[in-house]
């Protein structure tokens, strides 16, 4: 759930002024350079008929092989006395036209084949793709040569040859994407909306494939121009006297040593042209590719940045294992600051289980991740507060010390055990690795300890199970392994982030009772993140309810369930159907939680609260003590039946 909450943020900011794709492209210096150079070349090529150029095809044997910077010919002349500048510009024009048209043809047919093969699947897919495989099995230049040989030399034939040779590239790319898309639910939904297959393919799938086609095109144009040049160089493309970068290169080859400029100039032109297209193409890919867009290009550092504006003083006496004070964690995305956690206090005593409950986006996972610096930076940072693990302020420690504490004193259990465990290593390897990272111990000893740990989490036949790979275990077993790993180094605090949400109810019941027993046996403190009051009841001693990045109510599980003081807690309990009470009308909470980059003044819940008063909307609402271990962030808390006005 935490991942979803974080991932949801970049999506949200789109509406709030995310830089446009073009801006992003321009911010990339290399891509911008590529774009400028490319535009310049294209403009010059397009303007060729208007420019005061000499006729590129008129020979003047008297003026042959003039060097560059000659009075009439800036770039000199070639072996037949033709003006190289003029030929260069006209030749670029031809090369660009051929490259672009070949790309368009290849993209059209390749994408069509890919779309049909991917969508229809089965025998059609097999037939089409084996055909593509056959085309790919030939060395491309050989195939192009064969096609030109069959059709006869000429620019248009070379164009066809290059397009055909590149169809497989498009077809395979597009087919892969299409296969993924056609299994998506919206395709089923379109079928149920009565759309025909053709309609679905071109109306539903194509728009989603289009960015990929554009990306592929932008990266292939350069390649196509090179191939055209290659064929022309071999004399199979442009025929004399027509100029084309490849044929200019070919003609200059014979006099490379006497007049190098004749071949070097078109060579340089090819280099600059292809380079600018590639730089620009890479930029386009970075901007359009959804995977890169979602932040894969930003590499988070190993620990959350700590930029605290305020550091609370250490408590005089330490009665808690983990003591979090005024924790604030922020994300800075596209100029907006999202206050995911806005001042959270938590106290976790030895052997205690504290449940942090809240909806997605309430900041409960970010709170948990902040403690050991696991919030990705960029864009996250810890902006204030402190977390003391016994006497150490976790936010002030060195990276090395944090590394020592992670997985030993403080360990984590995450929601999805399948993605937490490494699929390529056995469970035993991963457990012993976790043990040996923190304890000086021989491998044999560590293996023995790993087996003991599996026994501790009630996995039958532990010695055998050490050899199992994660995919060979059921979901419940995998989560047991993760718990064993969390306990491997005598953890003082276990942070469990929705550890049972991905499991079936019967398995969930087992994992919860296992965690309950283990807590008694090992006396570990647990911070248990969840959205389910039922789960909280089963395992937690105390609860902290979070809303919009702050704790709105805390107390013992019994008290909060029996007698919630904050209207949000009350509503949250009432909106969940309870087993055994089917007749109850569910009391939905209308509206949506506020966005954490634009929190309202006063109480964040005011807009959805049925008991809202005028004074709720201004000032800072403090967390008021209601008794020992009981506090509520509400100025009109509920007492029993109605609001206390």
């Amino acid at each position: 759930m935490s991942g979803a909450a974080i991932a949801a943020k970049p999506a949200k900011k789109k509406a709030t002024g995310r830089p446009s794709s073009f801006r992003l492209l321009i911010n990339n210096t290399l891509a911008a350079t590529g774009l400028v150079v490319l535009t310049l070349i294209i403009l010059i090529a397009l303007a060729a008929p208007l420019l005061p150029l000499a006729d590129p095809d008129v020979t003047a044997p008297a003026n042959r092989l003039q060097p560059i910077f000659s009075p009439d010919h800036v770039l000199g002349t070639d072996a037949l006395g033709r003006d190289i500048l003029s030929r260069l510009i006209w030749g670029t024009r031809v090369s660009l036209a051929v490259g672009i048209s070949a790309t368009l043809i290849a993209a059209f047919f390749g994408s069509l084949i890919g779309l049909v093969a991917g969508y229809v699947g089965g025998r059609t897919d097999n037939l089409l793709m084996r055909g593509i495989d056959m085309v790919m099995a030939f060395p491309y230049i050989l195939l192009a040569l064969a096609i030109v040989a069959a059709l006869g030399p000429g620019l248009i034939n070379a164009l066809y040859a290059i397009a055909v040779v590149n169809i497989p590239f498009f077809a395979r790319n597009i087919r892969g994407i299409t296969i993924g898309l056609s299994r998506r639910e919206f395709v089923d939904a379109a079928r149920l909306s009565g759309k025909s297959h053709v309609n679905i393919l071109f109306g539903e799938i194509l728009p989603n494939v289009l960015p990929v086609i554009i990306i592929t095109m932008s990266t292939t144009i350069g390649w196509m121009i090179l191939e055209t040049a290659g064929l022309s160089f071999l004399g199979l493309g442009a025929q004399p006297p027509q100029a084309d970068l490849g044929s200019m290169l070919g003609e200059g080859r014979k006099i490379l040593f006497t007049s190098p400029h004749v071949s070097i100039i078109p060579g340089l032109m090819i280099f600059v042209l292809v380079m600018s297209i590639n730089l620009f193409g890479d930029g386009v890919r970075d901007v359009l590719d959804p995977r890169l867009k979602s932040g894969a290009l930003s590499r988070p550092v190993a620990r959350t940045a700590v930029k605290r504006t305020d550091v609370p003083e250490a408590p005089a006496e330490q009665d808690a294992v983990l003591d979090v004070k005024a924790l604030r964690t922020e994300f800075e995305i596209g100029g907006d600051i999202y206050k995911a956690v806005g001042g959270v206090d938590l106290k976790l005593r030895q052997g205690e289980c504290l449940g942090v409950i809240g909806e997605s986006g309430s900041g409960k996972s970010v709170t948990a991740m902040s403690i050991m610096g696991l919030v990705p930076t960029p864009p996250g940072r810890i902006a204030g507060g402190a977390a003391w693990l016994e006497h150490e302020d976790l936010f002030a420690l060195s990276d090395e010390r944090i590394r020592q504490l992670r997985g030993s004193a403080v360990s984590h259990v995450f929601q999805d055990p399948l993605s937490t465990l490494h699929p390529l290593y056995t469970v035993g390897y991963q457990l012993t690795e976790a043990i040996m990272a923190h304890q000086a111990m021989s491998h044999a000893h560590a293996t023995e300890k790993a087996a003991k740990l599996l026994e501790l989490v009630r996995i039958p036949n532990p010695a055998e199970r050490l050899k199992a790979y994660p995919h060979e275990l059921s979901g419940g077993m995998r989560q047991r392994v993760c718990i064993a790993m969390a306990l491997a180094n005598d953890a003082k605090v276990i942070i469990a982030d929705e550890p049972t949400t991905a499991l079936d109810v019967t398995v969930q019941a087992q994992i919860l009772s296992l965690m309950n027993t283990l807590q008694d046996e090992t006396n570990t403190a647990t911070l248990f993140i969840t959205h389910d009051f039922g789960v909280v009841s089963a395992i937690c001693d105390r609860i902290a309810v979070m809303y919009a990045g702050r704790i709105v109510e805390t107390g013992t599980t019994e008290e909060i369930l029996a007698n919630p003081a904050h209207p949000y807690t009350r509503k949250l309990i009432d909106c969940v159907p309870v087993l055994g009470e089917p007749g109850r009308r569910l009391d939905a909470i209308e509206g949506r939680p506020p966005v954490v980059n634009r929190l309202p003044a006063g109480c964040a819940f005011a807009d959805r609260c049925p008991y809202v008063q005028a004074d709720c909307r201004s000032g800072e609402i403090p967390l008021t003590e209601l008794g020992r271990d009981r506090a509520v962030r509400c100025i009109h808390p509920l007492t029993g039946e109605g609001p206390n006005v």
Partner: protein
Amino acid sequence: MSEEALLAIENAERIFGGGRTLFGTQLPAVHAVQDITIDVRKGETLGVVGESGCGKSTLARLIVGLDRPTGGAITFDGRDLVADAASDPRALARKVQYVFQDPVSSLNPRKTIRSILEAPLIHLLGMNKTQRAERLTELMDAVNLAPEFLDRYPHEFSGGQAQRIGIARALAADPELIVLDEPVSALDVSVQAQVLNILDDLKARFGLTYVFISHDLSVVESVSDRVAVMYFGRLAEVGPAKSVFAAPRHPYTHLLLNSAPAPGKRSLVPEDANTELPDPYNPPPGCAFYARCPRGTDECLAARPPLLAAASDPLHRAACYHPHEKTSAR
């Protein structure tokens, strides 16, 4: 609630895989759904509960014609649904619709809500522009969304709003039966209640029949008239929601109910460590639940128990040789 069956499923079976290779070796097959016989009456909500891998989503896809059974028959309103799905999928889609689990991935990210909702109106009902505009206003009103949302894209919506759009799309063609496949499990609890309430209102307003699939017992209990509990591709227990939840007969239903967490319930009664489902490629000959069952005997191991009615309640059937009887309720 009338007694006629709107949807009748008889011995439905769906096998994935199977067949033979080029050299005649048998390929492994998984029985996703097997021997399911159940009726859905007009105007009722049939809840289908089960854990992951029990075949409940496969059953849902069979009912809406997105998948075809490898055996058995499904009839809708007296007509052969499987044949109709092949010959005239649009006619079937006018009567039976589907709401997907993941509201966001069931909406095409590159289409506006208007074009998503108009698709069934154009392709299924053949409406013209003014009719469509009118119907769209009705639909948005029915799911309690502002009409200006029509020209936005799916990513601009929260999960709950997106799911309401999914419901509006299912409603668009004015169907008789809607299959809801885990419609609220991807939603936050506060939003879940909004969606459940809307579903409830719509059912009353348009006289709909629901097949409501979920793994969440409390949600199923709150919406269903009748409940079917599935285990390993088969029905374990079928009956009126009240009796199934108050006096479950199958030991598996017992286990489910005892495992479900509820606010204020401290101890969950767990079973022993064995929660493994049987190997789907090599199903046991007898009861699939035998390995986990506290009441199992040799009889259960030898032959599969048939779905039999309780002596006290002919509507309450369980596939068990040693069912719990009324006295041993939770």
